[in-house]
Symmetry: C2
Subunit: 132 residues, 2 copies
DNA sequence: ATATAAATTTAAACTAAATCTAAATTTAAA
DNA sequence: TTTAAATTTAGATTTAGTTTAAATTTATAT
């Protein structure tokens, strides 16, 4: 039968995402693998990212631009993007459970995942804008 | 000087998005314009969608796949995507204001926009899965 | 009204991200 | 150990969206 597995190349990709303190794109991951002297084919990186996302080991983020970013942080959490400098921060305050259950009830869906993206101006950009 | 404007082609694109009861992609919009016999260049549709999004007249949704979808509904609202059939529904129960202000406080950001995407299994898919 | 300068539209070329293909390799488990 | 399925690979291909440069339209100052 054979089972889908966390194979060696997938593990290499997973490690890069886990160790990143940003939200790397596929291209970023390829660069970082190369910098470590680890050889993983282009298509395999994409395959691995899809696998890891489907397994729930990492999360795919669709923020600005057309390229997906990836997040290896364990706890589910929201993100906040600065519309001015593009910085992405984690949001650790979780959404009220009561809202989630209300949404589940309203929609009739069995909820499996949430992706919350806030946009706004980060503290640094707010300050630098005041100066101008 | 000249001002950015809701020009004729932009209005045509806007009308398509406003009248859609789904969440059309750029390609969908081009098809619907063509079906109406309205000629708008490919690049102009993209230009128009960017313009309309920046003006806040419509909203860009990044759901499954690599193509953006657009939503012309006036009130800001969350979306819920069925992971099984791909259907996209509107979520009308708004997030508690208290959560939003807590996020603003935590992050120090000046919030301008929120994009909330729920994923799960829609009622129809839940039922059809029970049968199997 | 008219001239002028800036913005917008257009068609076509181009770019970049991601997927597909088919052959080679690895892996699981019979 | 064999066999079938899964995975990897390199390269070709697809696709969404952007860029380019010329033509057109538009806003507004005269």
């Amino acid at each position: 039968m054979t089972k889908r597995n966390l194979t060696a190349p997938r593990k290499l990709v997973y490690d890069i995402v886990l160790q990143a303190d940003d939200h790397p794109t596929a291209a970023d991951i390829i660069d970082r693998l190369k910098a470590r002297g680890q050889s993983v084919a282009y298509a395999t990186v994409y395959n691995s990212l899809r696998y890891l996302t489907e397994e729930g080991l990492i999360h795919e983020l669709k923020l600005e631009g057309k390229t997906s970013r990836y997040d290896g942080r364990g706890e589910d959490h929201a993100h906040i993007v600065c519309v001015s400098c593009g910085k992405v921060d984690e949001v650790m305050t979780p959404p009220p459970a009561e809202w989630l259950s209300k949404v589940a009830e309203e929609s009739g869906y069995l909820l499996t995942e949430e992706q919350f993206i806030f946009k706004g101006e980060c503290p640094a950009c707010r300050i630098s804008k005041q100066k101008n």
